[in-house]
Amino acid sequence: MSASKKNTLQAWLFLAPALLLLLAFSFWPVGFGSYLAFTQYNLIDAPVWVGLDNFRELFEDELFISALQNSALYLLVVPAIQVLAILLAVLVNNQLPGIKFYRAAYYLPVVTTVSVIGVIWNFMYTDDGALNAVLRWLHVINEPIGWLSDDRIALFSVMFVTIWRGLGWYMVLYLAGLQSVPQDVYEAAVLDGANAWQRFWKITVPLLMPTILLCSVMSMLAAVKCFEEVQIMTKGGPMQSTYTALFYAYEFGIKSLNFGRALAASLVMSVFCVALAWLNFRYLQPRKK
């Protein structure tokens, strides 16, 4: 065997475990999943080709339509997370005494498992729970609010938990972005008499654009695919008001073993996600001059 052939073989041997795993658990799901979306499949019998039936049933199912709407509504968390995360990053981007404590405090929810977060927030949200108690104490409300039991509010309560647990993660990304902004730009701006507000809008935000793009794509895709919080906190209720598209796919796939319908739903979601990512890059990409 020639030296270069041996070299090639060795390289592929090094790569083999990772490539096999990626093939089986990252690429196969996309291909096989897309195929199953056009079949009827219950894990036991062989898949039966049904053409577009699953998609027709999907769009005739009011539950899926409302789940899709909820997933779209879920995008409201994106601006909230971005604004708050940038605020946090600016606030902790210094060496004030105790700042490390604050950074860790904001990051705490990120390293907590989502199941415990669900349990904790179910405590917070009950009628006599801490949230209602604080709001009554501050005289914001008189009657307790049914954060998770009122079908008009429940989805927003779940969305708040998503914001709460994601903030620290985006804060860290923005901090990295902030720290790549050269300090002398700020110093020059101060000499020119720019106040903090002007410096933020004229220097920080434009230079932070690549990070904002990255974070908004990440949080948008995470928002439309959100379902763990729903699965833990509300199971889609009350009155199916917190169904998101992926929770629908989870229920039909994992719970009812109706994989055709579940994968059709997730294929619709994937198309939705690709469109969102494309829109982001189209409109938030810094213009090259």
Binding site: N7, A11, W12, F14, L15, P17, A18, L21, A24, F25, S26, F27, W28, P29, V30, G33, L88, L91, V92, N93, Q95, L96, K100, Y102, A104, A105, Y106, L108, P109, V111, T112, T113, V114, S115, V116, G118, V119, I120, F123, M124, T126, D128, A130, A133, W137, V172, L175, A176, Q179, E228, I232, L246, A249, Y250, I254, F259, A262, L263, M269, V274
Partner: protein, 288 residues
Amino acid sequence: MEKTLPMPRAATAKKINMNKLANRTLHYLVLTLLAVITVYPFWWTLVTALSTSGDVFTYPPRMWPENPGLDNFVEVFKTIDVIAFYKNSIIISVLTVAGTLIVCSMAAYPLARMQFPGRNIVFGAILATMILPSEVNFLVNFITVSKLGMGDTYTGVILPGLAGAVGIFLMKQAFEAVPNDLVDAARVDGATEWQIFWHIMLPLARPALAALTILTLVAAWNQYIWPSIVMASPDKFPLSVGVLYLSGAFSFKIRVVAAGAVLTVLPILIVFLFTQRYFLRGFDGAVK
């Protein structure tokens, strides 16, 4: 432009100092308010888990435990098999970390240091997995794992997550930073690629391996949905899944559920407190 009366120097300096103090106070006020929002739910849970008497829900909310004691924790151990959950979480986390380190660093080595046909295609394919809609993979992966007879097994929980693009890139970067001279010298001495990888690359990439270990450990300990899908028998649940089993079956025992939640997050919070820099990186560079 507004005209200001000339002020003596000391007075100006004092005014600036007062402004600075006011700003600083406001700064800390906002910081603290936000920290209360992120930390209080945890604090409430801890306080409730430690309280052994009185109402669970109080008005205004409780700030300190009433009759602090460990009764609720003892109750958790009596109610569910926490030891088994801990064992499962540890097995899953340790094997996931070990597997990830091996698989990712092996894949990263040829990508960083070897020339071979197909290198760019492989690199592109790994990059592509970051764009694929991976959140929906769990549906087909559940089918795959079941068909391979790995349902309800640790292998089924661990295997799908081992090869990750992030881990591979992290190791690739570390390997690329190793000086060429070392590698060339080893090749001249007749070292095989495996020996170079094992005796030169890995020891020099220790910081990257440490970072990957910590990040993977926390992610593996915290993963919830995938193990809850794969594991069917409760005695194989990791803590993240077991805690919901507790809150589902004993939702009326709120203090016990709170204690269960504390037991679930405590180990990982301790890990986090000692390894914060791996998560909160980004500041250490510029603001030193």
